[in-house]
């Protein structure tokens, strides 16, 4: 795991000083080393978190004749098998790293190489003979990759703050990106919340040369037609899932030259992964957990139980409301986007705990909820579909009472509210039937926007993700359509980004996600929907496949989604010092996103209640405003980088073909 950045310029040599500034802003992603490469038209930068081939493998790295260079963030977990195949085809390797596999694979297979990779990556390849930059991102968007196109050039980086190191890049919010964020919880690639800044779509590669810019998918999220799934037998599918998850977890645990820890949330997903590692590898396992001082959110009982069953060395951190408030500005500086939940903040503190114990890699259960249908949004969709067949039926309307059993005020306890909330827009033909309640309730945030921004959003036009659903998706099971929407919006844009990569890399920790393994996802997407969501029983096949490894209390406990205190974090105790300034009427007016008078009203309401018992809408509103203000302050105004700017130590790779054509020779890359 690392940070990557680069500049392509066909009008003259890229500015090396700018590249070094860009690289410096990615120091947290790679504290173990850094390097650069520059020729007359391209410059690549890299900060390294050394995990595989820690003594070799420094980047940027090139092929045998130094004509193809790569800067790479991530892991190619099947690199051992790919390297063996490439050696058989005549390629010569200088290192034992997965990075070197990329350049040889590119030489051998060109764009076809990406579909052969099983891993998580953001890659930039520069072919100096062809004067061509190739960018690639993993299938589901585990690793970030941003870029900005300019006449005759392009800048790219793992994080936007690196691109903003170029003072000529405009820093402004993108109205359409904000519109998506306040609907789907995050912008949907290629959109970002910053004007002119794009992100490469997951599962895509892009090519930039003198001929222009083009991009294409090498993989797509897809599902079979309902009823035509290849295997209908639940036992057979459970065995196949077990085999693939075991292999995915083993690969992610063993393919590392540094120790790998595991997160334990107390739910089934991380428990399965930790149990598989404990059962199928010989290495000792250290587990890390997040607890909350608020009992409503705490899962410590189950974490301790699972740790005891596995006999792991276990560490946890107990997070309170004031802890969330204290780190929130830093969280947003890393997330680089407005968010509508405080949930990333505790994960920032958890990855710090991991790092404090000397670990820089963790495996987690992330992705199971999307791939194997664990989220309430899928149960909600099934209930709504059931109800939509006869909206007037009193019996069918009772189905809403079966939702959200974990909530203190569950729909079962307030059935009238449940019926009014889940009963809206009951259109069985709507491809987004699953997601309308979430999107509708999130969109209420937009009522607080300034009139000016709303007009800009209106002019920018609506980018409805539903219109991007693939041809043939109307024949998928409704669950598959919901999964496609969830993977396309929340997984890539929020779960793997603001809650995932950014919170882990903020503390220089790499996350590895066995449930997002290529082979696991391919199998899961081909399953009959009933094997994932059986009636209203979520992750049915996963529970069945691993019933022997995980205690029954954890397998069958009511699913509790990961949540953290939201508004209460900023109001229950005294508000932190930064809060008054960031939320002042002057600062809100300066950011020009939210209407200051409406923000004042919301703040007054929060102060009256201490942020307690706020509605879901008000919790999202306050988080949206606070995080937008902090994003504005740290990235657009640009004064809040603080600890993120690190002085770079001497580079371990320094190739400058513009000023020093002997630099390749010094690296023993040419004779």
């Amino acid at each position: 795991m690392c940070g990557v950045c680069g500049i392509v310029s066909f009008s003259g040599p890229p500015d090396l000083a700018l590249l070094r500034r860009m690289t410096g802003r990615l120091g947290h992603r790679g504290p173990d080393g850094n390097g650069y490469y520059r020729d007359r038209h391209a410059a690549l930068g890299h900060t390294r978190l050394a995990i595989i081939d820690t003594s070799g493998g420094a980047q940027p790295l090139c092929n045998e004749d130094s004509t193809v260079w790569v800067t790479f963030n991530g892991e190619i977990f099947n690199y051992v098998e790919l390297a063996a195949e490439l050696r058989r085809r005549g390629h010569t390797f200088r290192t034992a790293s997965d990075t070197e596999v990329i350049v040889h694979a590119w030489e051998e297979w060109r764009e076809e190489c990406f579909s052969r990779f099983n891993g998580q990556w953001a890659i930039a390849l520069w072919d100096r003979r062809a004067e061509r930059l190739v960018l690639s991102r993993d299938r589901l968007g585990v690793r970030p990759l941003f870029f900005i196109r300019r006449p005759g050039g392009l800048l790219f980086a793992s994080e936007v703050k690196s691109i903003f190191a170029d003072p000529s890049v405009e820093r402004a919010f993108d109205p359409a990106g904000l519109d998506q964020t306040f609907t789907y919880w995050s912008p949907v690639a290629p959109r970002t919340v910053f004007r002119g800044i794009e992100q490469l779509e997951p599962g895509h590669y892009a090519v930039f040369s003198r001929d222009g810019f083009r991009k294409a998918p090498y993989w797509r999220i897809t599902f079979p037609e309902r009823g035509r799934e290849p295997v209908q037998d639940v036992r057979e599918n459970a065995e196949a899932l077990r085999e693939r998850v075991i292999e995915a977890a083993r690969l992610r645990f063993l393919r590392s030259d540094v120790p790998v820890g595991a997160y334990l949330s107390g739910g089934i997903d991380s428990s399965v992964i930790a149990a598989v590692v404990a059962r199928y590898t010989a290495a000792p396992l250290r587990t890390f957990s997040l607890r909350f001082s608020d009992t409503e959110f705490d899962e410590g009982q189950y974490q301790k139980q699972m740790s005891a069953v596995l006999g792991t060395e276990h560490q946890d951190i107990v997070v309170g409301r004031s802890d969330i408030a204290a780190v929130f500005p830093e969280v947003i500086r890393h997330a680089e986007t407005p968010i509508v939940r405080a949930a990333p903040a505790p994960l920032f503190l958890l990855s710090k705990l991991v790092r404090d114990f000397g670990y820089k890699v963790v495996v987690t259960g992330e992705g199971a909820d999307e791939v194997l249908a664990g989220y309430d949004v899928f149960r909600e969709a099934r209930v709504r579909l059931f109800w939509s067949r006869d909206p007037g039926s009193a019996k069918r309307s009772r189905a809403a009472e079966l939702l959200y059993p974990w909530m203190a005020r569950s729909p079962g306890q307030v059935p009238a509210f449940a019926r009014s909330f889940f009963g809206r827009h009951l259109d069985p033909a709507d491809p987004a039937l699953s997601h309308r309640p979430r999107w509708d309730s999130t969109s209420v945030i937009k009522n607080m926007l300034t009139g000016e921004l709303r007009e800009e959003m209106s002019r920018a036009g609506t980018e409805d993700v539903v219109t991007a659903m693939p041809p043939g998706s109307e024949d998928w099971d409704p669950l598959s359509r919901g999964q496609w929407l969830e993977m396309t919006t929340l997984l890539a844009g929020y779960v793997l980004a603001s809650q995932g990569d950014r919170m882990l890399m903020a503390n220089s920790v790499e996350g590895r996600f066995p449930f997002l393994d290529r082979d696991v996802v391919d199998l899961a997407n081909a399953l009959p929907a009933r094997h994932k969501l059986f009636g209203l029983e979520e992750k049915y096949l996963l529970k069945r496949a691993f019933a022997d490894l995980v205690p029954e209390e954890i397998i069958h406990r009511t699913k509790q989604p990961y949540r953290a205190p939201d508004a209460a974090s900023f109001f229950a105790d005294s508000s932190p010092a930064w809060f008054g300034e960031a939320m002042s009427e002057r600062a809100v007016a300066e950011a020009r996103v939210f209407e200051p008078s409406l923000v004042s009203g919301l703040l007054a309401k929060c102060r009256r209640t201490g942020g307690e018992n706020m509605s879901n809408t008000d919790n999202m509103r306050i988080l949206a405003v606070v995080s937008t203000q902090l994003t504005h302050e740290s990235l657009i105004v640009g004064g809040g980088y603080g600890t993120l700017d690190r002085a770079l130590p001497d580079p371990s790779v320094a190739v400058d073909l513009v000023n020093d054509d002997r630099s390749l020779r010094r690296l023993n890359l040419i004779s």
């Binding site: 009823g227 209908q232 037998d233 639940v234 099934r382 209930v383 059931f386 067949r389 006869d390 039926s393 009193a394 019996k395 069918r396 009772r398 189905a399 009472e401 079966l402 929907a529 009933r530 059986f534 009636g535 209203l536 029983e537």
Partner: protein, 69 residues
């Protein structure tokens, strides 16, 4: 969907039933499963604890609605 798969589904559902729960709500839960798995639409009269009492009742209902089991 062949008979083996149908029987498998019904057995699996039986194992997941919540015997202590509200009978009316359990009937709704069963109806959701039946409609999804067997691609049928139940009448309000069928969404009833007596009609959806156990695996054999579910099988009979699915057979009646689909005419194939």
């Amino acid at each position: 969907m062949n008979r083996d798969i149908v029987e498998q589904v019904l057995r699996d559902y039986e194992a997941l039933r919540h015997p202590d729960a509200d009978g009316g709500l359990e009937a709704v839960r069963a109806a959701i499963l039946i409609e999804d798995v067997f691609d049928v639409v139940l009448s309000d009269a069928d969404i009833d604890p007596a009609v959806l009492a156990d695996a054999s009742a579910l099988a009979a209902l699915a057979a009646r609605l689909r005419g194939v089991v």
